[in-house]
């Protein structure tokens, strides 16, 4: 089944004001940067964005925050972004902070048809407020519900025309779970190859989870914290 669309415009067609989006990535690593640039161009507003982080002020989801396109963020860590902190503390931006493992599992559950699950993470903290608590094996757990999205936008290293995806190194992060949890999942890839070129043994995300795939025009792949050691 051919999932290829010609460009980012076609890929993001149908995204409207008020929708819920999932965006893959950890920090600036593995984010769908071409699609984010297109969302800025489209000017869609009142978005609910589910993403582990919120980018930095001038890259990643920070670009959508600058344009006040996001109404609500569901994330686990939002440091390193002054505009985010300003909008959150002033109440302009609604923010739901959830533990990283719970965020990953809630996306996975959403894609896997599991409506909710119990986890020990967050018990006894603000995160547990209003949530059902149950004891399993003598230990308290809280009930967390699944997350889904109108569109999930992920970034992969290689993809084929069937939508099968392979990620590189730690750029995998949230992308596979979010791909599962989108009603429509869009994959932007660095290399787009014909079906049959990827070894089926080494595909990370099966194409069944992907509805549209395109080759990103340009990847800046910005590094947030460049740390090196001197050559001896």
């Amino acid at each position: 089944m051919n999932k290829v669309v010609n460009n980012v415009e076609e890929a993001l067609d149908g995204i409207k004001d008020g929708m819920t989006l999932m965006l893959g990535g950890f920090g600036l690593c593995g984010i769908p940067e071409n699609s984010i640039a297109q969302l800025v161009k489209m000017g869609v507003k009142d978005l609910t964005c589910i993403s582990n982080n919120a980018g930095v002020d001038d890259f990643g989801l920070g670009l959508l925050l600058q344009g006040k396109q996001i109404k609500k963020m569901i994330s686990s860590y939002v440091g390193e972004n002054d505009e985010f902190e300003r909008q959150m503390l002033s109440g302009e931006l609604e923010v739901d902070l959830i533990p990283q493992g719970s965020l990953a599992e809630r996306c996975r559950a959403g894609g896997a048809g599991i409506p909710a699950f119990f986890t020990p993470a967050g018990y006894g903290t603000e995160v547990a407020e209003g949530k059902e608590v149950r004891i399993f094996n003598g230990k308290p757990h809280i009930l967390e519900s699944a997350l889904t999205a109108d569109y999930a936008i992920v970034k992969a290293w290689k993809g084929d025309t069937e939508g099968n995806l392979v990620f590189k190194a730690t750029a995998r992060n949230f992308n596979p779970m979010m791909a599962m949890a989108g009603k429509i999942t869009i994959a932007e890839v660095e290399e787009l190859v014909p079906a049959g070129e990827l070894d089926p043994n080494f595909i990370h995300t099966p194409g069944i989870f992907v509805q549209r795939i395109f080759k990103g025009e340009k990847f800046e792949k910005r590094i947030e914290q460049r740390t090196v050691r001197p050559k001896v």
């Binding site: 923010v95 493992g101 020990p120």
Partner: protein, 218 residues
């Protein structure tokens, strides 16, 4: 003299055991990797999706796709593996990781820890810390004993929003090694040249002090 951040990391590294998988948090915990005792092998897990994390890359060899949970560029050791975030937290929640080292803003004598939020001031989020502290059996907290104003961060009760309840068993600060048992801090070791009196003065929580408190050996 009180330890610096590297000294704290060096002392924590003595807790590593051969064959352990270890998760190091951001800040002082990251430095622990520089002091692995000779003759033991450990693998570092970073919750963004790598097991077998290696040192920082040589200049010019950084890869934007290869970072740790602190978003720093890293390398992968031989035998390393990459995985998605759900698998990563399955390792953590499922207690497949033997030791977690993380920083804290406050620790209380009942084992509570606070490290993610100062209401009205600083809200960065908990990242993976809540998952880590809720599940890890073996948690060591690396922190300074007092804040910049000299006030104790080793408390009867945490004042900041909690990250986890009753989970911390060991704390290594710039002044001391403390264990948490039966709702109290127990003084195990003191930093070289630091007096027991200074530690008592800078500890707000209940502190059990044995007759003899050995100095840390670094």
């Amino acid at each position: 003299m009180a330890l610096d951040k590297n000294g704290i990391a060096q002392r924590i590294a003595q807790e590593l055991r051969d064959g352990w998988y270890v998760n190091l948090g951001i800040g002082i915990p990251t430095l622990v990797a520089n002091y692995i005792p000779e003759g033991i092998e450990v693998e570092f897990q970073s919750e963004n999706g790598i097991l077998g994390m290696g040192p920082f890359p040589f200049e010019g060899e950084e890869d934007a796709d290869l970072i740790n949970a602190g978003k720093q560029t890293i390398t992968a050791r031989k035998g390393a593996v990459f995985f998605d975030s759900a698998t990563s937290f399955a390792m953590i929640r499922g207690q497949h990781v033997q030791l977690t080292v993380l920083g804290a803003m406050e620790v209380a004598q009942n084992g509570d820890i606070a490290n993610w939020k100062i209401p009205g001031k600083m809200v960065k989020g908990m990242g993976g810390a809540m998952d880590l502290v809720a599940s890890a059996e073996n948690i060591i907290v690396a922190m300074m004993h007092t804040n910049r104003a000299g006030e104790s961060k080793i408390l009867k009760e945490c004042t900041l929003p909690l990250t986890g309840v009753g989970c911390v068993k060991k704390v290594v600060t710039d002044l001391a090694v403390l264990e948490i048992k039966d709702g109290k801090f127990h003084l195990i070791e003191r930093a070289p040249g630091v007096s027991v009196e200074e530690i008592i003065a800078k500890t707000e929580g209940d502190l059990v002090v044995p007759d003899h408190v050995p100095e840390m050996k670094l």
